[in-house]
Symmetry: C2
Subunit: 395 residues, 2 copies
């Protein structure tokens, strides 16, 4: 039997599969965008479950409203207030992670051949999704203050994009945080040209140094920003709970697609996270993971500095990743092969480019998922892998 | 700000919202495709949760493989063996309910303007999804033995459809079960013309009388059938766990889209259902709900017969629904308005037609969700609503 297949064949699937299907304990993985399993708030969730089993066993297995469990929406409304965004629960839709939020937005509003402007480099899950749904991706360069607004304005004028997609906090993969000035400039441009912007903010809570900056949504007075966030990076990826903040009419449109896709987010996860927030476990948990992730970030930086003189990287103020630049002379395809043989895994930089993949001499290293000692071992293995290539080239 | 919206405006959204956002206890709802909350296996799930909290709290919040938790796939493999389908776990993908299964299949394999043949009438969630994704739906008539194969063959020849979509067991909304002979004829036609078929089987376990018939997938020797099922109708809608059975290469393609959509089904629900199956709670639970649903079906039939002489309906051998035909003289739009005013809710028949909506003088009544006494009250309210119309017409 023949099935016609629409999806473009590329290396992205392979990349995500490698991240998701972790399980080989011999391999040190710097590949995932996954929180540390050791820091999962096990005791708190045991308490939450025991309470729910007692008080809410009737409700936690029933269907939920399409846009989400209302009590959880109230908790998220409060979280958003901490992020300086004042909304009603009607501005919120709960999604199966922010990946689904992105999927719903594109399905509802983007037509084939519409242009989406993205930071270059950017999250491969977004690139792959936009491509699969037939959008054309145009990359906007990024410097250490975030998206370059002059280039952005030029491209808006030239291309009339449907959306801009941005990760302002601890960007994936670069770790760069958009400066306050850039945020104001960006908002002023999207208001001037009337172009909606998708703000993807999975890492915003995870700042290890410096001051919190207002989200783009907080600066957006005219409803041009659709904000996405998730509990996947701070509580549990497996629970699959994220959310969208948007004008009510946008939430209503998205809810049509949510119904078609899978009716609603599973009720059990929504109740668990809601109770976790209600019991005020959240704040302490965030404090705890920030402390450990700061340690791990600094440890990885130390090990990189100790083992590599030829690699440059940016020190991120938060988030999950180090974005490491190798000399152009190094064949990064070969490095990946050697590294996998030597049992250390990461994501090659070209996965984060829609086009110009050949330009990339970067790799992305995640420092939250591996254990402390694995960070040390893994960086050594990476060093050995690089040595094997260099030696080979000498003969 | 302007967002272009692709979704067709029709009454479907409204219908699903009405079903999902139940919560007003004064209204008797015959609208939902929802299992009885009273029959939820509360004690069993409490035991399951306590066991998981003790033994697996590490794993139940972690990410899962894209195609699903392997232990659950093994359990589903065994379930499928009971349904006479012999497969490996590589033929299974776990989905967020079978609605997501359908969504993934259409996204992966159907292009805009492709034709999908469906039974008329059929599940509105499928109609709405196919339309939203740009497919053209062509209806094939159904008689009391299921889809009419002569008409089907004629339409295949004429239209070269991409897929056939069928619900052979206790069809939604008609309750009709496809006869064994028809099943063989259907398989022979799809093999002759090489047209893949989506078999949607959410109700197959819920037979109240007569003998189980082999699924189309069990009769399909050449991989033309993609089979969908779910735990939503037999255990819990809120857990959002369904599955797809298909050739491995199809599962691989679907998994690309699953990754893009929401990475994987939430791990917690997968572990809960897996443990429920492992502990052999499933069989007893099915026995228990079949007994109660048989009673409710018979009670609703009795009340309909007592209160209505002008309404005809089909007695289904299983499933969730009575499909009731009203005289053509009755204005069913008016009946719906009166019914909602009188606090009884159901789905008007025209929701189950892609075209020819005006042809429908049916309504669909669900007998599993309402309590026994609500069935009695609700049918009386429906009678009163009809009386109000008839009286009005007399003057």
């Amino acid at each position: 039997m023949k099935y016609t297949v629409k999806i473009t064949k590329n290396n992205h699937n392979d990349v995500i599969s490698r991240i998701m299907d972790i399980g080989n304990n011999e391999i040190v993985s710097f590949a995932g965008g996954i929180p540390s399993p050791e820091l999962f708030p096990k005791n708190e969730f045991q308490k939450v479950q025991i309470k729910l089993l007692k008080d809410e066993v009737e409700n936690m297995f029933l269907h939920s409203p399409v846009t989400g469990y209302n009590e959880l929406k109230k908790e998220i409304k409060n979280l958003m207030l901490n992020r300086e965004v004042r909304i009603s629960t009607n501005n919120i839709m709960i999604t199966s992670g922010s990946q689904q939020g992105l999927d719903l937005i594109v399905r509802a509003f983007v037509n084939p051949n519409d242009i989406i402007l993205v930071e270059e480099p950017t999250f491969f899950g977004a690139i792959q999704l936009f491509e699969a749904l037939g959008a054309e991706i145009v990359a906007v360069p990024v410097d250490e203050y975030g998206i370059q607004v002059d280039a952005l304005e030029y491209l808006i004028n030239k291309l009339k994009p449907k959306f801009i997609y941005s990760i302002p906090n601890f960007q994936n993969p670069t770790g760069i945080t958009m400066s306050l000035e850039r945020r104001y400039e960006l908002i002023s441009i999207i208001e001037k040209y009337g172009i909606p912007l998708i703000e993807d903010d999975p890492y915003g809570e995870l700042r290890y140094e410096g001051k919190d900056l207002p989200s783009l949504k907080a600066l957006d007075k005219n409803d041009y920003v659709i904000y996405l966030s998730t509990f996947s990076k701070v509580i549990s990826l497996g629970l699959r709970v994220g959310w969208i903040v948007a004008p009510e009419r946008v939430i209503n449109k998205l809810s049509s697609f949510k119904q078609l896709t899978d009716l609603h987010v599973n009720t059990l996860s929504q109740h668990m996270i809601c109770e976790f927030l209600k019991q005020s476990y959240y704040e302490n948990h965030i404090k705890r993971i920030k402390k450990e992730y700061t340690f791990k970030r600094d440890l990885m930086i130390k090990e990189l500095e100790k083992n590599f003189t030829e690699v440059e990287f940016y020190k991120p103020q938060g988030g999950f990743y180090l974005w490491c630049k190798f000399p152009n002379s190094i064949d990064l395809n070969l490095l990946l092969k050697k590294s996998i043989k030597n049992k250390v895994n990461y994501i090659p930089g070209n996965s984060f480019y829609a086009k110009n993949k050949e330009k990339s001499n970067f790799i992305r290293l995640n420092f939250t998922y591996p254990k402390r000692k694995e960070i040390v071992t893994g960086i050594k293995r990476l060093r050995n892998s690089l040595d094997e290539i260099i030696k080979k080239e000498m003969y």
